[in-house]
Structures are given as structure tokens and as C-alpha cells.
Symmetry: C2
Amino acid sequence: MRMGEGVEWGLHCCLTLAWLDNGPVPSGKLAALFDISPTYLNKCLQRLVRAEILTSMPGARGGVQLARAPEDITLMDVVAALEGRETLFCCTEIRQQGAAGAETSAREFAQPCGIATAMRRAELAWRRELAGQTIADLMASAPTTSARRIRRSYDHVSARPGV
Amino acid sequence: MRMGEGVEWGLHCCLTLAWLDNGPVPSGKLAALFDISPTYLNKCLQRLVRAEILTSMPGARGGVQLARAPEDITLMDVVAALEGRETLFCCTEIRQQGAAGAETSAREFAQPCGIATAMRRAELAWRRELAGQTIADLMASAPTTSARRIRRSYDHVSARPGV
DNA sequence: GCTCGTGTACTCGGATAGTCGTTGTCCGAGTCCGGATGG
DNA sequence: CCATCCGGACTCGGACAACGACTATCCGAGTACACGAGC
């Protein structure tokens, strides 16, 4: 079990967009900033657009930018948009199948599976922690030179023709 | 991102073994209890044996049983044994690659990536919650009739020849 | 009657295929900018 | 000189392959029991 790379890419892109804060940024430029696959990054950004975390503008001088203020974008939003809203642990109710579930009153199965409950509790702690941190928090905890450095790198990439 | 079915199977098997508490139980009987693939369950139980959560005994009248008391087996142990000890979020340090990482003093990269830190914090909350619950807790929260029911089902399966 | 040897049945354990999701790639629809043209 | 039209280039968006992990399966090594033979 491992999270897709898209989560890391998406978070770094959101952070970069928050720092740049200068109109639309083409996805190709973002890919060049981190030397990652431009086309697959595009696919990931599409999911963020559908989740209304980013807005996209087509055409020349187009690109993506944050749809909300950095304070209003939580890590949970980004993870949910890229990894889906399904739970980590999927209870298939095997307790009701086979010999263990046969010839048993349905009343006992009315209350939820204890294993699923325990796993859900842990997962909720994870989600709560993710929902408690925003892009703005990441900006605040980063070194003060990061914003300046990202802007300079972006200008450097923009100067290069054909990228 | 989704956990494998083996986690659900493994947890139910640990709970069942704790309730039975009657010497080795063949993996085939456990599979019959929940109507799941016997061979694949065997593979999952192997991982639990390697993690020293279960002990296995070969030969006739062999099988698997808990290696420790239910109070000493946490959900984290089972999940780690079946899903691996890798972190959910794998930071590949893309901040150091591409234009964003070029021509930058290595001093700034000395401190860890803020995104990785935030994700790790959430993951630690998840792990802590998993490590705080044991098989014994699951037994305590289950209906009082569960133990009796599981034993009866096991006897029923054992009576069937050829299973 | 007791002990020993052997055969059998059963168990775990690792090596071997099938299937689904994630990763990576490509091309088309739509949009905006810049220049050329005509008034 | 200014408004209009057109061409080009760039962008996002969805449709199309390749790889890896999870799922599922099989067969072999090893063990304990049960039975029968011998003492």
C-alpha cells in the first residue's frame, strides 16, 4: 500500500502556485520546475481542477492557478482529489460469509463489524490530521527564502523558449 | 490507494484464533470459516508467521496459532506484517530536481521537506491509533455471543471431512 | 502385551500464472495573441 | 492612424498503451499419527 506520486506532485504544485501568485501557470512549466513527466502531471492537475482546487484557463497565456486562498486548501482536499475518497480499509463483511456467518441471527450483524470500526477510527485520525493543515501552513513553515527562490526558478524556466 | 484484502483476512483470523484458543488451527479451516481463497490465505498467514505474530506447526494436527497473548498483538503489528513497513507517502525529493533545485545552496535542503513532514505527521497519527488497539480490545468490544458462535462454527467445519 | 518400523495423510512453505490499477504517452478541441489588411 | 480579420501557436482535456503490484493457484518438503509386524 503506497500513495501515488501524484500526491507529492500535486502538493508541490499547489505550494508553488501559492508562492508565484501571478496569474495562470502552464502545467508544462510546473513539470520543468521539478523535472517530472509533463503529460502525467497534466493528468494529475486535471483531477485538482475537477475538485475545484485549481482553475484552468485554456489558450495562450493559459495555465492553472489556485481556485481558493491557500488558507482554504487543506492537505486532505488534495489527497482526496488525487487518491479518491474511498477508505483505506474496505470491509467486505467476510464475517457474514462461510461457516462463520451461516445459521446466525441477523441481529448480531446489525451492529457494525468491530474490525472495521477500529480501522475506521485510525483512518479518521489520519484524515483529521490532514484536514488540519493547509497550504498556508506549509508556506509558513518553509524557509523564508523559498518563495524568492521559486519565483527566480520560474522566471528562469519562462525565459527558456520552447518549454 | 487501498489496503489489500489480506489485512481484513488476517485480522479476522487473529480474532478467531484468540477466541478458539485451542491448539493449532489449519489454515484451510480458517478459509472455510470465511469462505475465502485457502491458498491465498495461506500466503497471508505466512507473513504473519514471519512477523512472529503467529506460530505454525507442520504435519498432521498442525496449523497456526497466536504467538503472543491477544493483549500483546496490536493492529499496527498485523497491518505492518501484511502491508509492509513502508510509509504511505514516499517523498522523492522532487524539490531538489529540475529548475527548482538547480543552483541552490545545499544548506536549504538540509532541513527536511515541509510537505513530507506534514504527511508524516498525519501518518504517525494513524499508526499511533493502530498501535493503541489490540486483538484483546477487539474481543472486548465484540458481542458476548461471538466467541461461542465462532467455536460452534469451527466445530461444525471440523466435523466435515475433507475440508 | 510391548516396542519398533513403515506407510499414509495431512500440514506448511515457496515458486509459478492471471488480473486490475497506477503510470506514462499521445493527439484533438478550444482559446488567445500578433500581425496583416482595408477603410 | 484605427478597426477588423485571419493565421499561428499554445493551452487544457480526454482517449490510448505499458508496467508493476495484488490476487490466485499449484506442487514439493516435512511432520505426526496409525497400523501392522516382530520380539
